[in-house]
Symmetry: C2
Subunit: 138 residues, 2 copies
DNA sequence: ATACATGCAAAATATTTGCAACGAA
DNA sequence: TTCGTTGCAAATATTTTGCATGTAT
């Protein structure tokens, strides 16, 4: 992805192979954890430490290239911020994560800004409950 | 709080002093972390281990008595689920957490259920951005 | 050549668990 | 008395950091 390389360069960061590899993984699959990225890549790129994965994700998050997500699993997941903003519903029964889009959210952030002055640049929603199947079973 | 004692009993759990103390702390202050509860209580109740705090919060969360929150700090915070459902906007500048209520959310969960069959029993929203002051300063 | 980046191992944090002792019912 | 609960310490798990080495610019 060109854009990501330009953002790095324009901020004075270097374009390393490790950074390229990590972004490539995120392009291939969404909602990856640091550990998962590390595992997926270690065979083809043994020259990549877990700490570099963390440092890179941190940087990419800081630059707004990557979104950091929390599904209450005890660790974070990441995905490219270029994906359309979306939200998650996590099933208490089977752990499945269902996604949904909701234009109302755009309105919500405007409303919040009007009321409190808070300027939103990203947001997360997580619904906790049961998916259709688990709700039927339970 | 009576209600909490009844829920415990009706499910066959025992009403211990530790559990009472932890709920009392949550009644006094919202958004507490496990560590904070432990610190607040250790003087008056040295007979209370951090692991019990975790175990108790887990149980109370399971029973729907307590809500588990994530502000991206690397650990969880907790509050009584009896508080009116609310949402958080966390300032990237100063870390301040601004709260807001939004009736639209009730509508949102209904909409999601209609579209995906997902039955929501609780939800969290976190907006990331800058509060009025930091937005003005930055 | 000069910083910025990296890998490794060790540290720091947060949370969980094993087990003997405790105590609510 | 019984079995759920607890404290303590040790184990896990996740993420961060120090430092010598590597490498993009």
């Amino acid at each position: 992805m060109m854009e990501f390389e330009q953002i790095l360069r324009s901020r004075g960061y270097r374009l390393t192979n490790q950074r390229r590899v990590i972004v490539r993984e995120l392009e291939g699959e969404r909602h990856l954890s640091a550990e998962e990225i590390y595992e997926r890549v270690k065979e083809e790129h043994p020259e990549l430490g877990l700490s570099t994965v963390y440092r890179t994700l941190d940087l990419l998050h800081e630059l707004g290239i990557v979104r950091k997500e929390d599904f209450g699993e005890g660790y974070s997941r990441y995905e490219l911020a270029t994906e359309r903003m979306h939200h998650h519903a996590r099933c208490r029964g089977c752990g499945k994560v269902i996604e949904f889009n909701e234009e109302l959210m755009e309105y919500l952030t405007l409303q919040v800004e009007r009321e409190t002055g808070f300027v939103t640049d990203s947001y997360e929603i997580t619904l906790h409950g049961l998916c259709r199947e688990c709700a039927a079973a339970g």
